[in-house]
Symmetry: C2
Subunit: 481 residues, 2 copies
């Protein structure tokens, strides 16, 4: 699935610029940068990231998907002629002798290659992984060159629109689950778009190039897109204007019905097939209870070459209006579509496996959730430590080591300071700062009496527990909290 | 942390060759390969992989580690002069204009770069991620060019050997937890090795080169290593022979005591520091109850440049002797050490942060666990679906769609066939083949009576449940099983 688009660009850029590191200034004799358009995720960010991924993956599993992993790089020829105008953004590896390799650009093409290579005719799989796109520095503001995608795809020959409807259901479940506020999923069909091009008078050889222009409508005004279509893609102005009329149309299932009545579109076989499928799709979406989230939108193009049928893209309509929160701009956070011809490109005999899928754009969702947590001042624990092993006395390292090993061996998450003689106050402050709920304290007195002090860090209450009952008591307390 | 070594190579190769795909033969007009030395992980393999990673990560979290993520590629200069003779295995990206980039070779150097870049002086972090090494095709048998590493590292200035001992404890917990059979962790110290080189008469400029030769002892005989040291590295034969005498020594804490008495080694300041630390380390390992798993071994060299103190490597001693199972060869599955100078290489002022860490070699563990499951004929469920939605009747797609959406919305993992009119037998076979425990069946009769049939797939027992109680009943059954 392709990278998701920005809408509108400037507002997103403002949001992202807070999260992007300032450009590195190199000091002589020292390297302290990562490469442009990439970033490290700090422990705080990793916690947010993992929460999001857990929710996404558990939704994919709820829909019966199996996991799959593919290499970060593919033979260069695997990626060739799959991405249209975006192919220039593919990272190639240096020719160090041997094969010519490229970093994967999405998770869809490797999936199709996997299906063909293993002659798999039917599969429902998810894949969470990084992809790489060499976006030019001028568009890097607000984008990354390395980013994470979460893909769900259904491969196989099935009755029409049932898997497609499930993909839209999954998008709804994930976007609702993440509580990103109100959202809308735009739907169109490549066959309707191509039919529209045909009846407007676009020559077939220019379908994909004109589609690429329309795909830029979230970054450029219609005026600029029209100019590109006429000046760069060589469309007649009146053809461009006819397209301009169509792509203003968006609405629900009634628009589908209307388009059946469109005197020109209804004459186009391809467009009719697309409309038939959309009608069926809306029927299923109604049964799933999500049709009010879906908008048939003739301006939706999707940039990539490989789509053959229904396409879709989810946008956020507004930020969740929390008290004191800066309103966030809208943005595309998930997308996908049907690609029935891609697997055949990898099969020696051209045998096809129809596929439909979706991709969740984690980076943008991540930015929104991170921003929200910052605004709400939510504190994030970056470690899961449950018990801290402390001592008030000098020369108690040995006892602390024995005790902490006992806790680890019982599966309890435990830490201590790596000092021979830490101060008690330092140790207790560490617990408070790190949000560790329990501390066990061992000293001479305790050792003599065969007990350990168990302290609740929050309430500062301490009780003496018999050494042999300590693990059980800790486990009891942890299970209660 | 570096890639883990094979021991002995041939036996591993035999094991791996079963798992490696046969070389691709290209057909004209079709690409159906992945690149050499990489592989896809099938859903079955992903389940095994995830089980292993879950165990490893939960151990890291038990020891208080925070997560961190870094980009797949770094500025080329970040990786320069960190890996000694192995630097030739680094993958470079093609110069497409802009920065010169390389794929990361391990997770240790990016961690050090992160610490320096963010001026972090103290951190306990784990990182699970892929790394890439351009192994030559001749050594590819049994190795991958893309593989997963699980690293745990402790950065910061602490009292000696406390974090180092925890790293060894973690290795023991993971290797025991994975039930890989008996294992041993070899320990040495770079300062003892360098001291040994010095007293044997190796010029200091050749320490790392000679160390690299010794590091090959798991793949080459001593005779061949000696030949390399003399012929290629220019050591005098009698110097090589003196080294040969030392590196035969291995044993427990008593060997440490013995080496203190060694007339030549005990004259070397560096070696003495290393021995002092090892002595303390063994004291802590005894308190952790793992000292019998640790062997001081003067032949342990570790190939990488950046180690400065204690180094270690875990090997499996035998396969778990399961009935009917082929005995597996021994192999190195985890390794690490102390690297106190690496962070300073990235700091403009050369400020250092002492670090110690370990890396788990997931690929080899994965092969062993996979092999064991195959031998035992363990069946792996690749999806987690709990309930299948079926119908015995035609034209019941709408009811199935409504019902399955209800289950999904209640968080239940549910599937149905993407057919308008599937046969009941096909549907029930699907449940049995996929190991789905429950099926809900809806037909005209049920619809009329406002009930759903709930079927236990294993026992084939069916009961009618009121539609409004269905979700609760399913959740009850799932929580009991």
């Amino acid at each position: 699935m392709p990278q998701l688009r920005l809408l509108p660009r400037r507002a997103w850029a403002a949001l992202f610029s807070q999260l992007l590191r300032p450009p590195c200034t190199s000091s002589p004799g020292a390297v302290h940068c990562h490469s442009q358009g990439t970033r490290d995720l700090s422990p705080q960010q990793m916690v947010v990231r993992e929460k999001i991924l857990d929710l996404v993956v558990s939704c994919f599993k709820r829909h019966g998907a199996k996991g799959l992993d593919t290499p970060a790089f593919e033979l260069k020829e695997v990626l060739t002629e799959k991405y249209g105008e975006d192919s220039g953004l593919i990272y190639d590896l240096k020719d160090q002798g041997g094969e010519l390799l490229s970093l994967r650009y999405d998770l869809t093409v490797p999936f199709a290659r996997y299906l063909a290579m293993n002659k798999v005719k039917k599969m429902k799989r998810y894949h969470v992984g990084k992809v790489w796109r060499r976006e030019s520095p001028t568009v890097l503001q607000g984008r990354y060159r390395e980013f994470c995608q979460c893909d769900f795809d259904i491969a196989g020959q099935f009755d029409p629109m049932i898997p497609d409807a499930e993909c839209l259901k999954i998008m709804c479940e994930i976007l609702s689950g993440l509580q990103l506020g109100d959202f809308l999923i735009k739907v169109n069909d490549r066959r309707i778009m191509d039919g529209m091009f045909a009846v407007c008078g676009v020559p077939e050889s220019k379908f994909r190039a004109v589609g690429s222009s329309i795909d830029k409508l979230d970054k450029m005004s219609w005026k600029d897109v029209r100019h590109e279509m006429v000046a760069k893609k060589g469309l007649a102005p009146e053809v461009a204007d006819q397209i301009g009329d169509y792509i203003q149309c968006h609405g629900g299932v009634t628009l589908v019905e209307q388009m059946f009545q469109d005197p020109r579109l209804s004459q186009n076989k391809q467009a009719l097939e697309g409309l038939e499928d959309l009608k069926l799709l809306f029927e299923y979406l109604t049964l799933f209870g999500i049709s009010e989230k879906i908008s048939f939108d003739l301006s939706l193009a999707r940039g990539l070459d490989y789509y053959t049928g229904v396409i879709y893209e989810a946008i956020l309509l507004q930020s969740p209006a929390q008290a004191g929160e800066e309103p966030l701009s809208m943005g595309s956070v998930a997308a996908g579509g049907r690609y029935d011809g891609l697997v055949g490109m990898f099969d020696p005999k051209g045998h096809n496996v129809p596929c439909v899928g979706l991709s969740i754009g984690v980076e943008r969702i991540f930015s929104i959730v991170e921003q929200r947590m910052k605004t709400l001042g939510e504190r994030i624990r970056t470690s899961e430590t449950q018990v801290f092993v402390a001592t008030p006395q000098k020369n108690f390292l040995q006892e602390r080591l024995k005790l902490i090993a006992e806790l680890w061996d019982a599966g309890i998450k435990a830490e201590m300071l790596y000092k021979n003689n830490p101060k008690l106050l330092t140790q207790l402050h560490y617990c408070e700062n790190m949000g560790i709920p329990l501390a066990v304290i061992i000293g001479e007195q305790e050792l003599k009496e065969g007990v350990i002090k168990l302290r609740s860090v929050a309430s500062r209450e301490e009780v003496a527990i018999k050494r042999e009952n300590l693990v059980a008591e800790i486990q009891k307390r942890l299970s209660e909290s």
